[in-house]
Symmetry: C2
Subunit: 129 residues, 2 copies
């Protein structure tokens, strides 16, 4: 059976994907993939997601340059969640300019930011002149 | 604002949650929480999820004994995914008796198991005599 057929895609043809950093083990981000995105992720070894807001393939880093080189693609016990282990180019996975998207921790009953902005998003996503 | 109100719950009142192991950084499992489950997770420092298949609160380890002691609760940039960092009691997070749920890796176009079964599930989930 094709490895893609073994995945239990949801009614929208998607499954969640967790991206974890290869060298640090940190969880970088959470996204979704459809069949095409996951096939491309494997073929190109560059993380490609499905953007549910834009309804299109989203090659991570296509506008920021912060691509993700894929080391490992893993599947969970229920065959409906994928984990990819990646090298994060530029060390920035989050659109806020931080290393990863989980930059808030719950402390004293409040969400508190404990990850610095590495690069200003305005400098990451420059409009084309 | 209440930290729980800051979360963007989906139409079913749920958000995805990723459980990561405190001492190894390994991703243990993926689940869902509703407001009550996440409040309990924080109050008791024991991971509590929402079971979508059983439609009820699911205190992790309630039948297996493999509870998860919570060290950190984190929120992503879009405020719709939670990451919890936990100590995995018994070193087994997966119902298959393995350390974690992501025990298959894609190699040579096939999903290949690379995590051993630590304890037979039949010995974990013993029927009450």
């Amino acid at each position: 059976m094709d490895w893609l057929d073994q995945i239990r895609w949801d009614d929208d043809g998607l499954v969640p994907v967790i991206a974890q950093e290869y060298n640090t083990g940190k969880v970088l981000m959470f996204a979704w993939v459809n069949r095409e995105a996951l096939a491309l992720t494997n073929e190109t070894k560059q993380a490609t997601y499905w953007s549910r807001s834009r309804n299109q393939l989203w090659r991570k880093g296509e506008s920021s340059g912060h691509t993700q080189r894929v080391h490992d693609i893993r599947l969970d016990c229920d065959e409906d969640v994928v984990l990819i282990v990646v090298e994060q180019v530029g060390g920035i996975a989050c659109h806020t300019g931080r290393h990863n998207c989980f930059y808030r921790t719950l402390a004293d009953g409040q969400w508190q930011v404990d990850e610095p902005i590495i690069k200003n998003p305005e400098d990451i996503y420059k409009p084309i002149a």
